[in-house]
Symmetry: C2
Subunit: 345 residues, 2 copies
DNA sequence: CTGTTAGCGCATTCAT
DNA sequence: ATGAATGCGCTAACAG
């Protein structure tokens, strides 16, 4: 790899001049500029960002930690954040925490060592104290929580309006005449999942329906586990709800697998609405009614807030910025109205 | 952010000693080590990788360029590469080229400026000369092509055994009694797609079936475009093939949408096999027979080769390493045997 | 074992 | 408008 010095030598100028044409920090005459540019091409010179960063103590890099980017929701967030970052000439490095608290700690530490200028965090499904997060914040590193919101943490955040979104889905099922609606969730240690559960209860309350404890099924983010839970609960036809609401994509997948395994058809045997799109929901037969989150937009907004905080520097640190975006309900077949023998109400 | 000097001062030792406990390059007495570690914790010190990299001219970072990580196939590759990298204490930065040649050039350039030590490249669907790639290689930067293989380029590569995989799928359709099988591909400028087409032809040839030009439908990587193409071709029932083979995930999605729009059911009206899993193929009703690529493994192997090349340094550069992994056929409903009125054979 | 020091490549004063 | 010199934080070579 050639250095700025080699470029300067080849162009017959000083390294200062090369630096000026590179960064545009000072005007350079047409003549020298042309020579320098020729030398750069000749040598296939690529400015060393490492050295530049050391000098300027700016890396123009953002980090984003997601639990697992093979879950389709996260890449969409990442791409949103990436494009917002690129607009401001930043790059984005994305890493996976595997839902592991330890790994998340290591990654936070790694990103700090790499001197990213800000971090977008989709927190893993861990509870407990957020020492690591607080430390990072205390050090003045801007950080924005995305989607998953750690409890009791004064921090900027961008997420969907969870409660309202869940309410939307459940109200729809109620409107379709379902008298008994169960909910299958992810880990209730996560605030999102709690809020979605709240939305579910809210919808029932508004409709004057009882919220029965035995219809709240706490699951996790593993489709197979959720499938097992649902199979277990759905087996007994006498105590089966008329519809099921899933609060996240893996849970939704698990529920669908359970339906298949139990020989249940939607919407005839059981109504179904799920959070998060599976990217191909429209192709399922029957197609799946889904609460669609604006994932790309979430990424964009989060990155924009982060960049704003970076620009502000250490002064602007007043109130946390809290953005809540609306989800939309994509109504498809799985929640269609079906004439029912009047069930227990 | 505190520096090594502050740690040294607080611990009452020299900065050299701190460096030694950090890197383990030289032994340090229990006493001083303890003091240093205390100071590190006290200051929440995070070694500056930027400075370290500048000094050692090693970033311990790999880059991977994919066309679009919202396509489920790519995150799986990335995670494979990430875990292989991590085993060797490297980090991985993943970026999207959007299938754009210009963007791919910029990213290659950016990664070089960031001094990544090696690059995994899933080339965009661009033809033309590979100046940029060659330049990077010439500069001594190790590079491994993944999945998409640029033509006429002597370079390490990891991909699936495309021809054999396609042959597997088509032979299966033939075995299920399909007399007339169409194929819908991505851009045939890509070697993969060509090879898959070859496999299709090979399977027909071995079965003594004719390869008819009008049953080779060249598409692209946009599901909607492919859907339009398929709708167009499938409309006329007299000239409709008895089965369709799709060579990539977006094409497969497009085909499924076209089936839906044309009111065709699989496997009764048309047999169907597609390349790449959609992550939820098993949930479709009917479920979709799929050629499953070992995406994670592809990522792992590619990263391992890259790391090996990095270790070799500039000497080892002999033959390109070419890894071709086998795909497997996941037989599901969409290709099930169906009694047919004998069609034109 | 521990301390001192040179220099990685660059942006940026400060002179000129 | 251009060039010379300084130092960002760290590792590694060397001296003690």
């Amino acid at each position: 790899m050639s250095t700025i010095k080699e470029v300067a030598d080849l162009a017959g100028v000083s390294i200062g001049t090369v630096s000026h044409v590179l960064t545009g920090s000072l005007p350079v005459s047409q003549q020298l500029r042309a020579k320098v540019e020729a030398a750069i091409r000749e040598l296939d010179y690529h400015p060393n960002h490492v050295a530049r960063s050391l000098k300027t103590s700016k890396t123009r890099t953002l980090g984003i930690i997601v639990p697992d980017m093979t879950i389709p929701f996260f890449p969409r967030i990442i791409r949103g954040a990436e494009s917002a970052a690129r607009r401001s000439n930043y790059s984005l490095v994305a890493v996976n925490s595997d839902e592991s608290g330890a790994r998340q700690r290591d990654l936070l530490s790694l990103l700090r060592s790499q001197r990213v200028e800000g971090i977008l965090l989709v927190a893993g499904a861990v509870s407990g104290p957020h020492d690591q997060i607080n430390q990072a914040m205390d050090s003045g590193l801007p950080m924005v929580c995305v989607d998953r919101l750690p409890e009791k943490l004064e921090i900027d955040s961008v997420a969907v309006e969870n409660s309202a979104a869940a309410e939307l889905g459940v109200a729809h099922l109620i409107a379709m005449g379902h008298p008994s609606i169960a909910i299958v969730t992810g880990p209730l240690t996560l605030r999102n999942e709690q809020e979605r559960l709240q939305g579910y209860k809210q919808a029932l309350r508004k409709a004057g329906l009882p919220a029965r404890e035995e219809w709240i099924w706490e699951g996790n983010f593993h489709a197979e586990d959720v499938a097992a839970i649902c199979r277990d609960r759905l087996r007994d036809s006498s105590e089966r709800p008329s519809a099921l609401f899933a609060t996240n994509a893996p849970a939704g997948l698990g529920a669908l697998r359970a339906f298949r395994d139990c020989g249940l058809r939607t919407p005839q045997d059981i109504g179904f609405v799920t959070f998060d799109e599976l990217t191909v929901d429209d192709l399922f037969t029957p197609s799946v009614t889904t609460i669609v989150q604006p994932a790309h937009e979430i990424g964009v907004r989060a990155a924009e807030i982060l960049l704003q905080r970076i620009e502000e520097g250490r002064h602007g640190k007043k109130e946390p910025i809290t953005v809540r975006l609306a989800a939309t309900l994509q109504i498809r077949d799985s929640s269609r109205f079906v004439e029912r023998a009047s069930s227990a109400r």
